[in-house]
C-alpha cells in the first residue's frame, strides 16, 4: 500500500507545483498591471 500512497502523494505534489507556477505568473501579471497603469495627474 506504501507504493499506492506514494503515487497519490507525488500526483498531489506535481499538481501543486503546477499550481505554484500559475500563482507566480498571476503575481507577475499583477505587478505588470501596476506598472502599465498610467500615473494619476498631480
Amino acid at each position: 500500500m506504501a507504493f499506492v500512497i506514494a503515487a497519490y502523494l507525488i500526483a498531489i505534489v506535481l499538481f501543486g507545483a503546477y499550481a505554484l507556477t500559475l500563482a507566480a505568473r498571476q503575481r507577475l501579471i499583477a505587478e505588470l498591471s501596476d506598472a502599465a497603469r498610467p500615473s494619476p495627474d498631480p
Binding site: 500500500m1 507504493f3 499506492v4 506514494a6 503515487a7 497519490y8 507525488i10 500526483a11 506535481l14 499538481f15 503546477y18 500559475l22 505568473r25 498571476q26 507577475l28 501579471i29 505588470l32 498591471s33 506598472a35 502599465a36
Partner: protein, 219 residues
C-alpha cells in the same frame, strides 16, 4: 471556468475514493494495481494535451496567429506535467510488480523520449522567445506526436515488460466493470482538470502578452 474546476475536483474526489476504497483488489498484483487509477488517466490526458499541441501548432504554422501559439504552449506545459505523472506512477507501480523501478523496454523508453521531446519544446520556448522560437517549437509540437503511435504499438508488436493495452483494444476493455467505472471517472476528472488549467493558462498568457505590448509601447 469555476464550474469546470468544481466539476473536475468533484469527479476526482469521487474517482479516487472509489479507486482506493471501493474498487476490488486485483488478485495477482494486490494493492499496487490501484496505481492504475492514476497512471492510465494521466496518460490519456497527456495524449489529449499532445493532440491539442499538434493541432494548435499546425494552425499556428499555417495562419501565424499568436492565439494558436499560446494554446500550443499552454497545452505543451500540461503535456509535460501529465507525462511526468505517467512516468513516476509507472515506476512506483513497476517496483512492487516487476521488481524494478525502470527498465529500458520499448514502451517505457519511447515514453521517456516523448517526455524529452516536449521538455525540449519548452526549452526552445524559454531560450528563443518571439516568433522564431514559436515557429521552431511548433515544428517540434507537430513532429513530436509521431512518438505516440510508437508508444502504443511498442507493447503490441515488441516483447516488452509493460503489459499490452487493457482499455483501448479493438475487442473492447479487458477490465471488469468494477474497475472500469472508477477508471472512467478518474479519466473524466483528469480531462476536465486539464481543460480548466488549459483555459486558465491561455488567459494568463494572453494577459501577459497584452501587458508586455502596453509596456513596450509606452517605453
Amino acid at each position: 471556468m469555476r464550474l469546470l474546476l468544481t466539476l473536475s475536483l468533484t469527479l476526482m474526489l469521487i474517482g479516487l475514493t472509489w479507486a482506493l476504497a471501493v474498487a476490488p483488489t486485483e488478485a495477482i498484483q494486490g494493492p499496487p494495481q490501484r496505481i492504475m487509477y492514476l497512471h492510465v488517466p494521466a496518460v490519456i490526458t497527456a495524449y489529449a494535451a499532445l493532440a491539442v499541441v499538434c493541432v494548435a501548432s499546425v494552425l499556428f504554422l499555417w495562419r501565424r496567429d499568436p492565439r494558436w501559439d499560446r494554446l500550443a504552449l499552454a497545452a505543451a506545459e500540461l503535456a509535460v506535467l501529465f507525462i511526468t505523472m505517467t512516468l513516476v506512477t509507472g515506476a512506483l507501480w513497476g517496483r512492487p510488480v516487476w521488481g524494478t523501478w525502470w527498465t529500458w523496454d520499448a514502451r517505457l523508453t519511447t515514453t521517456l523520449i516523448l517526455w524529452f521531446i516536449y521538455v525540449g519544446y519548452l526549452v526552445v520556448r524559454a531560450w528563443a522567445p518571439g516568433e522564431r522560437g514559436a515557429r521552431a517549437a511548433a515544428v517540434i509540437g507537430v513532429i513530436g506526436i509521431l512518438d505516440v503511435p510508437l508508444i502504443h504499438w511498442s507493447a503490441i508488436l515488441l516483447r516488452t515488460l509493460h503489459p499490452q493495452p487493457t482499455v483501448f483494444r479493438p475487442e473492447g476493455p479487458a477490465l471488469p466493470v468494477s474497475m472500469l467505472i472508477p477508471l472512467a471517472i478518474n479519466a473524466a476528472a483528469f480531462l476536465t482538470l486539464f481543460l480548466t488549467l488549459l483555459t486558465l493558462r491561455v488567459r494568463q498568457e494572453r494577459t501577459l502578452t497584452r501587458l508586455v505590448e502596453i509596456l513596450e509601447g509606452g517605453a
